[in-house]
């Protein structure tokens, strides 16, 4: 027995809720960002949570019949139905008097940006009372790394080989969701779990469609050492590849500014999926990252709290 236990005081402080709802033994790859995202999300939301999970890495991570790792009820649904299944769940809960339960649609980028976009748009337009979380690892990882519309310019995937790497920008899912006039949309990053937890708790306090775009690296698909997951994720935000911000009722708030952003080249060189890029490709990507960041700043200037209306 150590001193802390006898005195009841602990010589350490936790910055996240201590309770673990996600159980170990799940089937995520070593260093999986999506597993971290779920662990944090459940810490934020608590046990009164029901998940709809479509085809995505998490359909496997949760474990095969007769097991589950999530620790909360999960309905494994069809690929394109995370939002529509969750809509059904939340309406049933409301009808059965369980307003204390949070319904979460939990999908990958393919199930959100691509095949599930129609159902997501429908649920957003109806303002169904769900939290929709997309954990974005920028490709179809569960089927073995095929490009999705969340795959960034320049990336290798098995369907965008290095000789013909992904051309064109990643779809701006946040702007699509903001265009639906939903009450809350935010980006978050597994490298900033306190921010992620705070945003999910804020989302939980709001009714209607709430959308979280969570950045979740995939060592397998991005070709980096599993130990670098958090470093790469952090760098994505530090170099403005993945800014973290919130849009509440149309009001933009940038949660983090980088006085001197890390060059995008630093981020790219850590991942095998970008190793084929030439200097001019890297410069092009840097120019687009800068442009998108400036655009976001202007959105905050125009539609942020300081804009004053």
């Amino acid at each position: 027995m150590n001193a802390a236990e006898t005195t009841g005081k602990r010589p350490f402080r936790l910055t996240l809720p201590e309770e673990e709802i996600l159980s170990p033994g799940h089937l995520a790859c070593q260093g999986c960002g999506a597993a971290m995202a779920m662990r944090y999300a459940l810490k934020a939301l608590g046990r009164n949570t029901i998940l709809s999970i479509p085809a995505c890495c998490w359909a496997v991570i949760d474990g095969p019949f007769p097991y589950s790792a999530a620790g909360v009820p999960v309905f494994h649904c069809a690929f394109e139905t995370a939002a529509s299944t969750a809509a059904g769940i939340t309406h049933a809960l409301s009808r059965l008097g369980r307003e204390d339960v949070t319904t979460v649609a939990w999908a990958g980028d393919g199930g959100t940006f691509d095949i599930g976009l129609q159902a997501l748009s429908g649920a957003a337009e109806r303002n169904d009372n769900i939290i929709y979380v997309v954990y974005d690892n920028e490709a179809y990882m569960n089927t073995g790394i095929q490009r999705s519309s969340a795959t960034p310019h320049g990336a290798w995937t098995t369907t965008t080989p290095t000789l013909q790497f992904k051309k064109g920008p990643k779809k701006n899912i946040m702007e699509i969701m903001v265009a639906h006039s939903i009450p809350y949309a935010a980006t978050a990053n597994i490298a900033y779990p306190e921010d992620l937890v705070k945003k999910l708790r804020k989302a939980q306090s709001i009714r209607g469609m709430r959308f979280l775009h969570v950045y979740a690296p995939c060592p397998t698909g991005w070709k980096h050492a599993p130990g670098l997951t958090v470093k790469i994720a952090r760098m994505a935000t530090e170099c403005n590849v993945f800014p973290i911000y919130e849009v509440e009722e149309g009001v933009y708030t940038l949660n983090r500014r980088n006085p001197t952003p890390v060059p995008v080249a630093e981020y790219l060189k850590m991942q095998g999926r970008f190793h084929h890029l030439r200097e001019e490709d890297v410069q092009f990507i840097q120019s687009r990252v800068d442009r998108d960041w400036q655009r976001l700043i202007k959105l905050e200037q125009a539609f942020g709290k300081a804009a004053g209306t």
């Binding site: 170990p24 033994g25 799940h26 790792a69 060592p219 050492a225 599993p226 470093k231």
Partner: protein, 99 residues
């Protein structure tokens, strides 16, 4: 539906009659020890550990319990090395498994 749970936490579903009507989980993935996935083992060096609990925070499994010092649960640690990479005090050594 009352599943038979074995001592190791696994669910006994051997006969058709043991099965529910659809695939509904009856046990926790906790019965699935993932130690065998590991080729490196994180070893927390107590003397260097400042009890910041970042290793606990970043573990994707979770396989680290907060404590004084924190404890790695080697039944589940997959050896991803995030805790090693993220420790700001270089207090977690990496040891090769099966050496």
């Amino acid at each position: 539906m009352k599943p038979k749970i074995r001592k190791d936490g696994t669910v006994a579903v051997e006969k058709t009659g043991d099965l529910p009507d659809m695939p509904v989980s009856m046990g926790s993935m906790k019965s699935n020890k993932t130690a065998s996935w590991r080729s490196i083992r994180p070893v927390i060096v107590e003397a260097r550990c400042k009890r910041c609990m970042i290793c606990w925070k970043v573990c994707p499994e979770p396989a680290i319990r907060p404590g004084d010092p924190p404890v790695v649960d080697l039944d589940y640690c997959k050896g991803c090395g995030i805790c090693i990479a993220e420790c700001p005090f270089d207090a977690i050594d990496s040891e090769k498994e099966g050496k």
